[in-house]
């Protein structure tokens, strides 16, 4: 069975065309193009690719800047056997975790064991100053025995996050990984106090693992951890970031992370744009794209069923004779976790009508893309608000106003979870409790990824 689908000019219609405009009135449609044809339902692929130009029209007679959304959608993914997990739990057992926190962690790890099945592989690593392999990578067959190992975890002294991550990744890497969803989940309550401590090295380690197919999720517990470090770990590591305010919330967060892992339908997702003449990509919001001579590539996190990711791209267009142009070919490659087929490929075209009439451009703006642009600005605003609070250049009152505006924007854009997070931050400010930054940095991460849950 050939699951590769090419959606390109030779096969008009299909998912890639769903939001393409038809050629402007007065221009004939090229042979074969049927603008009335809509997206195919029940696609056999785990993912769907959609291009949403920021404007039906672009300026033909002058250089201009336009945006577009490239949307990767897992909402239509069929059900099937899931890929087995290859998971390592990397747990901070430094002195500050003693007592309730560590007990809840053990309980949470027990829940994880319960949720896995004998095809999954689990390893458990703890770190304080040194690293201990509580349980090397093995299939989850004897659940009682595994839980016994976990229950023996004792608190120690200092916090060596780097060695913990390295050990976790090497446990996961000890298994041949293509046929698994590979993830390291790190939980810590503090700053790194021993081993390699600098942000760049720790985050760089996670980024390197990611390029080998091992993603990293960072769980921050309590009020003393370094949220920038953990958010950076999650972002470059391609996993999630969670802020856990109280110990009793730990098991729930582990369960949430597992649920995502168990419903991942695509991994190793890469989005690539091949640009036409007179097109430059100025930025890809929230991403560090890999730039080639006429190509732009971003790596996207693993996607669970029902979720979608929006990548917002800002481009500059050179002027040209008025006509319809494909400004970029878009290629999506991924490993399908439902069918187990690797290097699946979807293609599509990003097309704009270049017109000499400027009023067409003014009235052709796409609302969805506009909102996404504002969201991106909101994310930067959040960052500034956070910095302002931290450096005390911003009063709580002014920060609350900023946050309220952002909250409204998030609600309008369908990011309810993130709107609620901002709401919590506002409450926190009002009540004078800290940790606003720990929540908001997660919100920013989500906005930057453009992730929406179906």
């Amino acid at each position: 069975m050939d699951s590769t689908r090419i959606i390109g000019p030779q096969s008009w219609g299909g998912v890639g065309e769903a939001t393409q405009m038809t050629p402007a009135p007065g221009y004939p449609a090229p042979g074969g193009f049927d603008p009335a044809r809509t997206a195919m339902a029940g696609s056999p692929n785990a993912l769907a690719l959609e291009m949403i130009p920021g404007n039906q029209f672009a300026h033909a007679t002058r250089n201009s800047v336009e945006h577009a959304i490239l949307q990767v959608d897992a909402s239509g993914a069929g059900f099937g056997r899931r890929l087995p997990l290859n998971l390592c739990l990397v747990i901070d057992r430094s002195g500050s975790m003693e007592g309730e926190p560590l007990e809840y962690v053990k309980r949470a790890c027990g829940h994880v064991v319960d949720l896995l099945d004998p095809n999954d592989i689990l390893s458990v690593v703890t770190f304080e100053e040194r690293v201990d392999i509580v349980m090397p990578a093995r299939r989850v067959v004897n659940k009682a025995l595994i839980k016994e190992h976990i229950n023996r975890i004792q608190p120690g002294n200092t916090t060596n996050i780097y060695d913990g991550i390295v050990a976790g990744a090497s446990q996961v890497a000890s298994v041949r990984s293509e046929g698994y969803v590979n993830r390291v989940v790190v939980l810590t309550d503090g700053e790194p106090t021993s081993g390699v401590k600098d942000y760049t090295s720790i985050v760089g380690c996670a980024a390197e693992q990611r390029s080998r197919g091992i993603t990293t999720t960072a769980l921050g517990f309590g009020s003393d951890y370094n949220e920038e470090l953990l958010a950076g770990l999650a972002k470059r590591g391609g996993g999630n970031y969670y802020y856990i305010a109280r110990p009793e919330l730990i098991p729930e967060v582990f369960r949430s992370e597992l649920e995502q892992l168990l419903t991942i339908v695509a991994k190793n997702i890469r989005l690539r744009m091949i640009l036409g003449k007179w097109v430059e990509v100025r930025q890809v919001y929230g991403q560090q794209p890999i730039l080639g001579p006429r190509t732009v590539e971003v790596q996207l996190p693993d996607l669970e069923r029902g979720a979608s990711l929006r990548t917002l791209v800002e481009m500059s267009f050179g002027r040209r004779p008025a006509a319809t142009y494909r400004v970029a070919r878009v290629e999506l490659t991924y490993d399908d976790c439902v069918t187990g087929a690797f290097n699946q490929r979807l293609e599509g075209d990003l097309v704009f009508n270049f017109a000499t009439d400027g009023s067409l451009v003014s009235s052709g703006v796409n609302g969805t893309v506009q909102r996404e642009i504002e969201l991106a600005k909101a994310s930067r605003n959040l960052e500034r608000t956070m910095m302002g609070l931290k450096t005390q250049q911003l009063t709580a009152g002014a920060a609350m106003q900023d946050l309220q505006r952002t909250q409204m924007l998030l609600t309008q854009s369908g990011m309810q979870e993130q709107a609620a997070e901002v709401g919590q931050a506002i409450q926190g400010l009002r009540a004078g409790t800290g940790d606003v930054e720990k929540t908001l940095i997660g919100t920013m991460l989500d906005i930057d990824l453009g992730k929406r849950k179906g």
Binding site: G26, Y27, G276, K277, G292, R294, P321, A323, D349, D357
Partner: protein, 322 residues
């Protein structure tokens, strides 16, 4: 909105220079004239905006992305390019404007896009610098030539206003307004001097993907960086990966220079800086690129013809993933 009438065929905006019935020279593949020439079969579509030839049945121009059929019959002239540095394709009239600084040249996804089977995907790079064009070949299959002289991979040739620059079988002329023409008393360009220094190739390095490199007497450096004599497009190769020494007595020796992903002979990884003799029977490999050695007899008198004849329609070097 203005009324625009469509005509049944799409005359190219830039009439081809010279005789309209002239066939574009090409060693293989269907490369006929565009729609406008009724004496030839319209096999390919010439883009009315940028004059790039496109395969039959494509809906968008592969270079500028024009949706064929959406341009009006009279295409407004492109912005005036006569003051910009550019390479001009005499046969099609296509003007390839150069960016200041570095421009990649190749068949796919490059600044200077030459969609022709004799042009490699990453063929060369040219830099506009101080009224001159610096031309470097990136290890292309069919070679790069300035003023008729070959540019060896890793060497930098200089082209002046009015010089002929050739990539594969695409002949271009450099237009550098304000640049000085080639000095009349200049010695032969550097690559020719180097070629005479190195003599004729004594052997060839052939990769499994079909790419062939000439090996000369003395040391031939191999790696990803363009400073090498042999530039590997394998993403797993190191910047300085290995070198092959063709010694005076005819022995050919391979040495790994401490590469990351290794050089392998007969499946065994070589220790760095430990030379190993190669024969035509040796199976060796740089990272993921399998290779063999071919010893050459008498050097060919016309190196260009040999290369072109031997590499018709061959799959050129694939892009490195950078």
């Amino acid at each position: 909105m203005e009324e625009r009438t469509m005509q049944a065929d799409y005359p190219p905006a830039y009439p081809p220079a010279g005789d309209a019935t002239q066939v574009l020279p090409s060693p293989g593949g269907p490369m006929g004239m565009g729609y406008g020439d009724r004496t030839q079969q319209a096999i390919t579509i010439t883009c009315p905006v940028c004059s790039t030839p496109n395969g039959p049945g494509t809906a968008y121009c592969q270079d500028c992305g024009l949706m064929f059929g959406s341009a009006p019959a009279e295409v407004e002239p492109l912005p005036d390019v006569s003051q910009l540095p550019r390479l001009v394709d005499a046969s099609s009239g296509r003007e390839l404007v150069l960016n200041s600084g570095l421009n990649s040249v190749g068949r796919e996804g490059t600044d200077v896009l030459l969609p022709d089977p004799t042009v490699s995907r990453r063929h060369a790079q040219v830099t506009v610098e101080g009224g001159q064009l610096i031309v470097e070949d990136l290890g292309s299959t069919n070679g790069t030539f300035v003023g008729g002289r070959p540019v060896r991979p890793g060497e930098r040739a200089t082209a002046f206003d009015g010089d002929a620059v050739r990539f594969g079988s695409i002949h271009l002329v450099l237009a550098l307004p304000g640049g000085a023409p080639r000095p009349a008393d200049a010695a032969a360009p550097a690559p020719a001097v180097a070629a005479e220094d190195r003599g004729a190739p004594v052997a060839q390095l052939r990769l499994a993907n079909g790419t062939e490199y000439q090996l000369y007497a003395g040391t031939n450096t191999i790696g990803r960086r363009s400073s090498n004599q042999i530039i590997l497009a394998d993403a797993f190769a190191s910047g300085r990966h290995a070198e092959i020494d063709c010694q005076a007595d005819g022995t050919v020796v391979l040495t790994d220079l401490g590469s990351t992903n290794g050089t392998f002979v007969g499946g065994e990884r070589l220790a760095p800086n430990t030379p190993v003799t190669l024969t035509e029977a040796t199976q060796f490999r740089f990272a993921k690129s399998d290779a063999t050695l071919v010893l050459l007899g008498e050097p060919s008198s016309d190196a260009e013809a040999t290369m072109l004849a031997g590499n018709l329609g061959e799959e050129p070097i694939p892009d490195a993933a950078d």
